[in-house]
């Protein structure tokens, strides 16, 4: 067991901007923490509130939705819809006493490899400070009890 908490973070990235930015970070060899796992979607407008909730329910320590810059959405307004949904999920999380800072909406353009990496670093750091998702800890605790 190690003392440093390594969060597990899910990033829903749109194909046209954030996913491309992630590839760009790759081709520029800009390193960022390996905690971030990307799920590619055509547009962040596709990211359902349920996807975010389920990610957290299954144990993600943090989730972010990364879409195009305002006005740059390949599908006009998908990124704005996504931002609205993220706000709604945050409100719902607050209602059940869950730190809503674990969920964020982030905007970037395809060329922003550096920003992708920067975001991954900052978000990972933030989640590290917030500590493990209490649900995940609870699940693990239960599993331990069941086992022992």
């Amino acid at each position: 067991m190690t003392d440093i908490f390594e969060p597990e973070i899910v990033a829903f990235c749109c194909h046209y901007c954030a996913y491309t930015a992630a590839d760009m970070a790759g081709s520029k060899r800009i390193s960022y923490p390996p905690n971030v796992k990307i799920i590619r979607v055509p547009c962040t407008g596709k990211v359902d509130a349920i996807h975010i909730m389920k990610a957290l329910e299954k144990g993600a320590d943090g989730v972010y939705v990364a879409g195009c810059l305002e006005g740059d959405c390949h599908f006009k307004t998908g990124n704005l819809r996504a931002a609205q949904r993220v706000r709604r999920v945050k409100a719902l999380l607050e209602e059940i006493g869950f730190d809503s800072r674990r969920v964020e909406m982030i905007l970037m353009s395809a060329g922003m490899g550096e920003r992708f990496a920067q975001t991954a670093r900052e978000f990972t750091e933030k989640i590290r400070e917030l500590g493990p998702n209490p649900i995940r800890s609870a699940i693990q605790e239960q599993a331990r009890r069941a086992a022992g």
Binding site: E8, G26, K28, R29, Y32, K46, I50, A55, G78, I139
Partner: protein, 1010 residues
């Protein structure tokens, strides 16, 4: 034309380097038949031997190789390796070309490149002309096309024995030289050039000292597919060097015996790249030093690469002319002796390795080929072209691209290749009614109801993945994932060999889902989808897991974490693909009209070429007349009359029936999809609104002539820009003749923080004007204050001529800029001369500023917003791939030409205009637009007809149908998925990204963790 015989619809492409491949692919995509010949036994040329390419430092093998084997296109490409041209008869549109194919002694259809023959008889067979020809396991490059060995018959002593080892019976002992005649309409020459062999020089020790290598050899040493398998070690003792020095201009720019006079254009950048990669990939502590004369980083964003190399990576650059390299025999170390500008005394520095940056040479064989083709060569042995027809040789119907034409780097080769393909294609009448052929794929098997049997194949991509994580360990782990029926490490998964193996495994193990652990689906999805189709599986049953770009490349320094992450990513992929199901694609007819934005040189050339192919072109120009910035240029460096060219070009464009010129017009709105765009334009003095329907868009909006308020420009009439002087020489020669002393200042407003890149054109325009002024008044004293003189390629000839005529070149450093003062007697320029080491005060009748070009920020910003296109930091449009797709934009259907891309000369703008037209043609040759399968589908039984999707859709596609539930027309759906995420009844799913697939990926990620 009825004179054309049937069958003359083919284009012959000579040379299978990146340029030839690009030209062949473009032609094939434009529905032309192509014969691609190469004298070697595998195509790929020089680029495939490079390790990484600037400015992205990517290993671009993986970017080229899919193009080489993209199966759908091969239908129209007849690849003939080991083949040379014997004779050419006939005229454009109707050539008869006799070609000779050497015996390979191996049946290409049978050889699996298993390597058995090479293992048993390494001397007899060839695969690897890398640094070390004896290493049999080393292929020329792993994705070689054709993927087969060849036999060196001269060395074979026992053909029976050779036949004996080949289990597939691919050895053909009686293979003979074959001669055939090809009937072609046009020819594209893309034979490239060789690199200079410095062994003929005696001062640098090439061929004598083991640790002196050429740039290309150094690339091979660093390359993952090279003889050292990607380990940076020096040849003498296999140790990693601690100090590497580069010597520039070896064999070029006429400084040594056996040198050529021209500049090879690419060596500065490749030396910088090699130095940066050395530090980046191997060790930051390795000292790197480049000895150079002028740092010629004139390409798009190259100057910034230079700045990064020096400032961020600590690559040392020393301006000097190295005198010699001497080896210390006991250590194998090398001392370079050199003198710098500011200190004439000889200095010596010791290095572990010395890299000689050698340039391009036209081999004798190319000269001979030119003779057989009947085309003229210039004094340097390159194909002669004219100033305004950059890819046309002296013989009509024969076109040239790449280094055969002049020294150049990959993006410029790609631009020229597409231009040459377009020009060659224009020789052919295309039957619109010809039925588009579909590649034959076996019928798809129905996998519904079958339990998922997932095959996981993990690439190592050379050291890209394999160098960071242990792929075999990963594969072991993956085996335990649910539903995984088979798993294997596949090396370069995109190589033909690996693909064949995977196909066999898919069939053998009855796999019905595939996960590829490799690079980005953005670039490779199609390739692997085709692989599945060949196995009779629907293409949507594959999931590409990007463990390279999004894992090994970004976690190089923490291999354990990278391995763990790759595992998790693959697990997500496996879980996700289990939920994948076969999908059907949709299509719409292609609109064949073209919108060209910008009526300058590039835009007009693109328009003319496309209109010549029978396409309707709308040419939109903001100004009230055509011509753009070139209207202000009178002559080129080479002395061509720009004015006449422009008026001819403009007249042709305006007279063309298929071109509608819209002057004083601006773009105001835009919608649609690639192949079916609608763009709103306000046109004319009354700003009348109209809409244009078009399939593709070419952006040729140009750049602006820079006029920074420096050095009294705009304050004192005697301070001019080069453009001003260009006109003055033509319009008022007497006043120019009367000047006794003129000073030119280079890099004004370029290569500085606010505009960090090089404007590329200023050095040649300064020399052009200097020579013209000298012609008017040979006594005139001309001083050119510069930071580097960047007369790349044949421009070097004029630089030399200017020096010969007494034009003085004085260097200044950015921290010691010259100063211009106006006095009553005239202008006075204060400058610091590095060589003399003192301040100079020069009076001048005129000061000419090389202000170059600056991006038309306002226009590119506006259009980038309207069209959703990216821009580079300095305001130029950003191409899709800076190396391999310089004319394509990231949004399909958009192409880029001229100075809207980056500063360039008129000739280069013409080339890219033609190139953009060629690239557009590849798209417009298709009758249908494939819309893919990512469309939203409504489950009518779940739908509550709430209208939320109807209101949410950005494109107004969903509607409530007669049955009372929402319906989404797959032909209109753009596939964003907004409706699916908003549907309160969860009745809508976006195919390919269904909820259960996304949730399954989350399961894959978290299953074991909890």
């Amino acid at each position: 034309m009825n004179t054309r015989k049937a069958g003359s619809q083919t284009v012959l492409v000579i040379g299978g380097g990146v340029g030839g491949i690009r030209a062949a692919l473009d032609l094939a995509e434009s529905r032309h038949s192509v014969v691609l010949i190469d004298k070697s036994y595998a195509i790929g040329g020089l680029m495939t031997r490079l390790d990484r390419t600037f400015p992205t430092n990517n290993c671009d093998l993986c970017t080229v190789s899919p193009h080489l084997s993209e199966s759908g296109r091969q239908l129209r490409i007849d690849l003939k390796p080991m083949t040379v041209v014997e004779q050419v008869e006939g005229v454009a549109g109707d050539f008869n070309v006799t070609v000779k194919t050497m015996p390979r002694y191996i049946d290409l259809d049978k050889c699996t490149a298993c390597g058995e023959c090479a293992e048993k008889f390494p001397d007899w067979v060839r695969f690897t002309p890398g640094l070390d020809p004896r290493a049999p396991t080393c292929m020329r490059y792993p994705q070689a096309t054709p993927h087969a060995f060849s036999v060196d018959a001269n060395k074979v002593t026992d053909f029976d024995a050779l036949e004996g080892v080949c289990k597939v019976g691919a050895i053909v002992p009686d293979d003979r030289e074959k001669t055939e005649t090809l009937h072609v309409a046009a020819i594209v020459l893309a034979t490239g050039a060789e690199l200079f062999d410095p062994a003929v020089l005696d001062n640098f020790g090439a061929g004598k000292y083991p640790n002196v290598v050429t740039g290309l050899e150094y690339e091979r040493i660093m390359s993952a597919s090279g003889p050292t398998l990607g380990q940076l070690v020096r040849p003498s003792d296999g140790k990693r060097p601690a100090r590497v020095g580069w010597i520039q201009c070896v064999g070029s720019r006429g400084i040594n015996r056996a040198d050529v006079p021209y500049c090879s254009s690419v060596c500065c950048m490749y030396a910088l790249k090699e130095a940066v990669v050395t530090k980046e990939r191997f060790a930051e502590e390795i000292e790197t030093c480049i000895f150079y004369m002028d740092m010629r980083t004139f390409g798009k964003d190259y100057e910034r690469y230079l700045t990064r190399a020096v400032d961020e990576y600590g690559v040392r650059i020393v301006r000097c002319r190295p005198h010699s390299v001497v080896e210390e025999p006991e250590t194998g170390n090398l001392s370079i002796t050199f003198a710098t500008d500011d200190d004439a005394r000889h200095k010596t520095e010791v290095f572990d390795m010395v890299v000689l940056s050698t340039g391009f040479r036209i081999p004798e064989s190319s000269v001979a080929l030119a003779n057989r083709l009947g085309i003229d060569l210039n004094e340097h042995g390159f194909a002669q072209t004219s100033g305004f027809a950059p890819v046309a040789t002296s013989r009509p119907g024969i076109f040239v691209c790449g280094v055969s034409e002049s020294p150049k780097d990959i993006p410029e080769t790609m631009i020229q290749a597409s231009a040459a393909a377009a020009m060659a294609g224009a020789q052919i009448y295309l039957d619109e009614n010809e039925i588009e052929e579909e590649e034959f794929f076996p019928p798809e098997q129905d996998v519904s109801g079958m339990p998922p049997r997932v095959g996981v194949f993990v690439c190592d991509c050379g050291s890209n993945i394999g160098g960071v994580i242990t792929v075999s360990r990963l594969v072991e782990k993956v085996r335990s994932f649910p539903c995984v029926a088979y798993t294997e490490a596949v090396g370069y998964g995109c190589s033909k060999e690996s693909m064949n193996r995977m196909e066999a495994l898919i069939l053998e193990h009855g796999l019905n889902r595939v996960v590829i652990g490799g690079c980005s689906p953005r670039t490779h999805e199609t390739k692997f989808q085709d692989m599945l189709r060949r196995c009779g599986l629907n293409k949507y049953l594959v999931e590409i897991v990007n463990i390279r770009d999004q894992d090994t490349w970004v976690h190089m320094d923490r291999p354990e974490d990278a391995t763990h992450k790759a595992m998790k990513m693959l697990e997500m992929g496996v879980y996700g693909v289990c939920r994948a199901h076969p999908l059907v694609e949709h299509s719409l007819p292609m609109n064949k009209n073209v919108l060209v934005v910008g009526g300058g040189v590039a835009g007009m050339n693109a328009a003319l070429l496309l209109a010549g192919q029978g396409l309707r072109v709308y040419l939109v120009e903001r100004e009230s007349r055509l011509g753009g910035i070139a209207r202000n240029v009178r002559a080129t460096l080479e002395g061509d009359d720009v004015g006449r060219y422009m008026s001819d070009l403009t007249a042709k464009v305006q007279a063309h029936q298929k071109i509608q010129v819209l002057l004083q017009s601006i773009i105001v709105d835009h919608k649609g999809m690639p192949g079916r765009f609608t763009t709103g334009i306000q046109t004319g003095p009354r700003m009348h609104y109209m809409q244009i329907e078009h399939g593709v868009t070419i952006l040729a909006t140009g750049a602006l002539a820079h006029r920074p308020g420096q050095y009294l420009l705009g304050e004192d009439d005697r301070v001019l820009t080069q453009l001003d002087m260009d006109a003055k020489i033509e319009d008022d020669p007497e006043s120019v003749r009367g000047m006794d002393q003129v000073i030119m200042i280079q890099c004004v407003g370029s290569r500085e923080p606010r505009n960090p890149n090089c404007s590329r054109i200023c050095c040649q325009s300064a020399i052009k004007n200097a020579l013209r002024m000298k012609a008017l008044n040979p006594e005139m004293q001309i001083y050119i204050l510069n930071r580097d003189i960047r007369t790349y390629g044949f421009q070097e000839d004029y630089y030399r001529e200017a020096r010969k005529q007494g034009v003085q070149f004085i260097r200044y450093e950015p921290d010691r800029r010259p100063d211009v003062r106006a006095t009553e007697n005239g202008l006075v320029v204060d400058a610091y001369d590095d060589i003399l080491g003192c301040r100079l005060e020069i009076s001048a009748d005129a000061v000419v500023l090389s202000t170059g070009l600056i991006a038309d920020d306002e226009t590119t910003e506006e259009l980038s917003v309207l069209f959703h296109l990216p821009r580079s930091d300095d305001g130029y449009f950003l191409e899709d791939h800076v190396k391999l797709r310089p004319t394509d934009m990231s949004v399909r259907g958009f192409f880029l030409a001229g100075t809207a891309h980056a500063p360039k000369t008129i000739r280069e703008s013409i080339t890219q205009g033609q190139s953009a037209a060629g690239r557009a043609l590849t798209m417009l040759a298709k009758q249908w637009i494939n819309l893919g399968a990512a469309v939203a589908k409504v489950d009518g039984a779940k739908c509550s007809a709430c209208l939320i999707c109807v209101r949410a859709c950005p494109y107004n596609v969903p509607f409530i149908n007669a049955e009372g539930y929402s319906e989404i027309d797959p032909a209109k759906c753009h596939g964003c998925g907004i409706c699916a995420a908003d549907c309160p009844a969860r009745a809508i799913q976006l195919m390919q990204y269904e909820d259960d697939q996304i949730l399954a990926k989350l399961d894959g990620l978290f299953e074991r963790m909890n």
